[in-house]
């Protein structure tokens, strides 16, 4: 029940925060003279919460579970420390992917409810048209929408995952729940991601101009994916060294 409550709380907060945030995002776009559509909500604006708000919620819920799995009776029944760590890593990605999927659906619903449009590729006031014009790309005749959604889902869930993974690794290494949550906030503010370009004094400068172009161009997409993968592998490498010699000394629960 406690586990269910933790994850229900995580998803409920994420959904409510997403709904409220998307209404503001939609209004801001309209004020700039842009006509958003449901696809913009799913592909672009579902990411809004994953830098700061969502990782903190997920880390809190995740750490509650890790604490339980660190109790002596649970630990000694595992095959090894590494097996326990990698199972938690896998579960962490599954949960991040789940939250991201929920956010994408919610964002799409909000954007569709407010605009009444599924897509507006060829409108002169669409985000996509505006972006392709600025980047000097020729607007293609058609798009593979399901592939675009999958691409967006993959990279967004991985960007959420590496923030939560950093906190998990930190908790495994230090046993400190407070510092793990603080680390997540720091990661949310400082760690660069593809949509938020870090600028000194203005960490939330969202001047990324390749949102749709990236999904259209394999080169740009793979570049972003490799960047996220480097973060994840670096964290896994550091954690692997620490995990194999971890001492379970604290009273966790």
């Amino acid at each position: 029940m406690k586990r269910f409550r933790n994850w229900f709380f995580t998803y409920a907060v994420a959904v409510i925060a997403a709904m409220v945030d998307q209404v503001y995002s939609f209004n801001r776009l309209e004020l700039r003279g842009i006509e958003p559509c449901a696809l913009d909500g799913v592909v672009l604006y579902s990411f809004n919460l994953r830098s700061l708000v969502l990782p903190v919620i997920m880390v809190y819920a995740g750490l509650c579970e890790i604490k339980y799995s660190f109790t002596p009776n649970v630990i000694v029944r595992q095959k090894s420390r590494a097996a326990s760590w990698y199972r938690q890593v896998l579960m962490c990605y599954v949960k991040c992917a789940g939250v991201m999927a929920v956010l994408m659906v919610c964002s799409g619903i909000v954007f569709y409810a407010l605009s009444g449009r599924y897509e507006n590729f060829h409108s002169l006031r669409s985000i996509m048209f505006d972006e392709f014009q600025k980047n000097g790309y020729v607007m293609p005749d058609s798009f593979n929408v399901p592939v675009m959604i999958l691409q967006s889902f993959l990279i967004n869930s991985l960007e959420l995952f590496y923030r939560v993974l950093a906190a998990m690794a930190f908790y495994w290494i230090t046993d400190s729940q407070v510092f793990s949550v603080i680390l997540t906030v720091v990661m949310g503010v400082l760690a660069p991601d593809r949509m938020t370009i870090y600028r000194i004094g203005n960490p939330y400068y969202t001047g990324y101009e390749y949102k749709y172009t990236e999904l259209y161009s394999p080169y740009l997409y793979i570049k972003s994916l490799v960047f996220v993968a480097i973060w994840i592998f670096a964290l896994l490498f550091i954690a692997h060294i620490a995990v194999s010699r971890k001492n379970f000394l604290k009273r966790y629960i």
Binding site: K2, V76, R77, Q78, K246, R251
Partner: protein
């Protein structure tokens, strides 16, 4: 079944908590650890159960070196310091969840283990509402439910009433007869004398005495 500890040393942040410990334990016997608070009894138990990685030395369990061949003993039940369970679950549900990790026993065996310590498996109260003694009993039930080859109990009779202490004695006798290695840490010397076949005295992380009861 045997446990052979050879020149075991553990340092934590520069402090030596276990210092050059070498002991051997055989199946079907009960071993006691006596010593003051902070003498290293619990640390030694944690090391044998694999929760702590030794700085040097080895723990050999039935021919397998802990930390090299295996990360944790393959068949172990333990109660160290404090029975740690999920507060919002009943006693039965807590044990069922832990038993689900290895999936070696069925619900009937879990119920039997809970009954053997004097608790009711159908008790709807959550662990949060258990008294200290009931929590301790559930911890013991968890340690013995899978009939492990190694049983480690830290202060097992803490907070137990007379009947509870009697039950623990009976349970440990059963486990001894089926050939398990039983390791108990206790402050009460009389209790150790009653329960154990051999007693190791620990002071400042070193074994300073060994007697057969």
């Amino acid at each position: 079944m045997y446990i052979k500890i050879d020149k075991l040393t553990k340092k934590i942040k520069g402090t030596t908590v276990l210092d050059d410990i070498s002991i051997e334990m055989q199946g079907g016997r009960v071993y006691g650890l006596s010593g003051h608070n902070g003498s290293g009894k619990t640390m030694l138990m944690r090391t044998i159960s694999g929760l702590i990685v030794p700085s040097s030395g080895t723990v050999d369990i039935d021919g397998k070196i802990l930390g090299k061949d295996i990360s944790f003993p393959e068949s172990i039940g333990l109660l160290i310091e404090y029975p740690a369970f999920v507060n919002g679950y009943t006693g039965f549900r807590n044990l069922k969840m832990i038993a689900g990790i290895k999936n070696k026993i069925d619900d009937a065996r879990i119920r039997e283990a809970i009954e053997s310590v004097g608790l009711d498996p159908d008790d709807k109260r959550t662990f949060r509402k258990y008294s200290l003694g009931m929590k301790q009993k559930l911890g013991i039930a968890c340690a013995i439910m899978e009939n492990p080859d190694i049983i480690i109990l830290d202060e097992p009779v803490n907070a137990l009433d007379e009947a509870g202490v009697g039950r623990v004695h009976d349970i440990l006798e059963e486990c001894r007869q089926r050939g398990a290695v039983i390791i108990i840490a206790c402050h009460d010397r009389e209790e150790l004398n009653l329960l154990c076949d051999e007693i190791f005295k620990i002071e400042s992380g070193r074994i300073t005495g060994h007697e057969k009861v």
